[in-house]
């Protein structure tokens, strides 16, 4: 693929104490690409995502974001982080702030927008996720699906170049999953670059450009969805897909 790379992960190693969790990962994420990461629990998917905005500090390797190695200690990480949106399994909305307050906080304190500008951006993003009427509500007054959409709006408000999703629908009741996936699909269609960890296989098949299968801290295989689902090359991929009933 010849689209310019937004994120290029090169030979990434990460250990927690003696436990090596990432054993040399290489991933290239091109502009407007949606790459899906599959793999059994504990295979290092979350850790890989969290290294991409340095919530975890990798020990070896490189992560180039727009050409800058974000793992270098002298990289201005807070400047990078605004450009890398992250969505968590447990939403992590700020419970003491309203929906609007959640979205405006970084706009005001990081991007230094005026109150009026921040509100405008926030409303625009809420429109995008279909929750304008909830702007004054507190997170505890929203359903899980609504909370996750607010979390997505919060990340999008900073106008990131790439979005990381770590199991965004795993904590949701089944009937609420569709709304969140719908927002993600819209996002994909608008050209956002996305790295997604999720077990939503049908979504992966329909929306992903590429699927990466991880196991035990390694990338076992990767390829377009048709190949990965219909004709996986590795036994471990096959047995994983079988286990999750696909």
């Amino acid at each position: 693929m010849s689209v310019p790379a937004i994120i290029k992960i090169i030979d990434l190693h990460k250990s927690f104490g003696n436990l090596e969790v990432l054993k040399g990962i290489d991933v290239t994420l091109g502009e407007s690409e949606l790459v899906f990461i599959l793999g059994p629990s504990g295979s290092g998917k979350s850790t890989l995502l969290r290294c991409c905005n340095r919530l975890e500090q990798a020990q070896r390797g490189q992560i180039l974001f727009d050409g800058t190695d974000i793992l270098k200690p002298d990289t201005e990480i807070n400047a990078i982080r605004q450009q890398i949106g992250m969505v968590f399994q447990s939403f992590n909305l700020y419970p003491h702030l309203s929906v609007l307050g959640n979205i405006c906080l970084a706009l005001r304190k990081v991007k230094k927008f005026s109150k009026k500008q921040a509100r405008e951006i926030a409303f625009h993003q809420l429109e995008r996720v279909g929750l304008v009427d909830k702007s004054d509500n507190f997170p505890s007054e929203l359903s899980g699906g609504q909370q996750q959409r607010v979390a997505i709006a919060r990340a999008l408000a900073l106008d990131p170049k790439v979005m990381l999703f770590d199991e965004p629908t795993s904590a949701l009741d089944p009937e609420l999953v569709g709304d969140v996936l719908g927002v993600m699909k819209d996002l994909k269609n608008s050209g956002m670059t996305m790295l997604v960890v999720s077990h939503e296989m049908r979504f992966a098949r329909s929306a992903a450009d590429r699927i990466i299968f991880m196991d035990g801290g390694n990338i076992v295989e990767e390829g377009p969805p048709e190949q990965m689902f219909d004709n996986p090359q590795h036994q471990r991929t096959r047995s994983f897909l079988q286990q999750v009933g696909y």
Binding site: L55, Q82, N92, L93, Y94, A151, A155, L158
Partner: protein, 222 residues
């Protein structure tokens, strides 16, 4: 019966003692106005120091908290006021009280804030950091507001304790409420001023205690 009233609830004596008592009350309020903010702010600093990523520094903070929570505040005060002069450091009674209360209160309040900060899940600061907020901004806008709300009852009840403890200042002859009432007692040969002091403490603290109880009930109901 008359004798009890005469000795403990003697209105005439109380009236006579009022000017001294009033000055004592003002001094108590002045001490409160100094040591409560000192404790609240000092405690916050201690708790923030406790979140440092440097291990030995965190240990130092733990030692500080444990030490000044373990040492009786009266002993600490006398040590500072009467002990330090032997090292050539002579503090005024008011300064000595402020210093002793600062050491004691910052440890107690620090422990309360620490528990509050720990009650906030890691996910909150991760979400904040992922949007580019600095560590300090994350603490100020995301973690602390929630942490303080979670431990507000403890902060209030600690503050009530501090108000009561200001009576310790009488041992370094700082003319606060208790000291003044005891002075009035020795001048009038009557216990009524002490009763009066007790009543004044009650007037200050009963509403606070009541409000705290109601606040706690409200939290429990949520």
């Amino acid at each position: 019966m008359d004798q009890i009233i005469d000795q403990f609830f003697n209105f005439k004596i109380m009236l006579e003692a009022w000017p001294i008592m009033w000055r004592g009350l003002m001094m108590t309020l002045l001490i409160c106005a100094a040591v409560i903010p000192l404790g609240l702010i000092g405690g916050l600093l201690v708790a923030l120091a406790g979140t440092s990523s440097t291990t030995w520094f965190r240990w130092l903070v733990i030692v500080y908290i444990d030490l000044f929570r373990a040492i009786p505040p009266l002993v600490l005060l006398i040590l500072i006021y009467s002990g330090l002069p032997f090292a050539g450091i002579r503090l005024s009674p008011f300064t000595a009280v402020c210093l002793a209360f600062f050491l004691n209160n910052s440890a107690y309040f620090g422990e309360v804030y620490r528990a509050g900060i720990e009650s906030i899940g890691e996910g909150q600061s991760e979400a904040a950091r992922s949007t580019g907020l600095t560590q300090i901004q994350t603490m100020a806008y995301v973690v602390l507001p929630q942490a303080v709300r979670n431990v507000l009852p403890d902060l209030i009840s600690n503050t009530i304790e501090v108000v009561k403890l200001t009576s310790l200042a009488s041992v370094v002859a700082l003319p606060e409420l208790l000291y003044s009432s005891d002075m009035a007692r020795s001048l009038t040969y009557n216990a009524s001023p002490i009763v009066m002091a007790a009543l004044l403490y009650l007037i200050i603290l009963l509403p606070a205690v009541r409000a705290l109880t109601r606040f706690e009930q409200k939290l429990a109901a949520q």
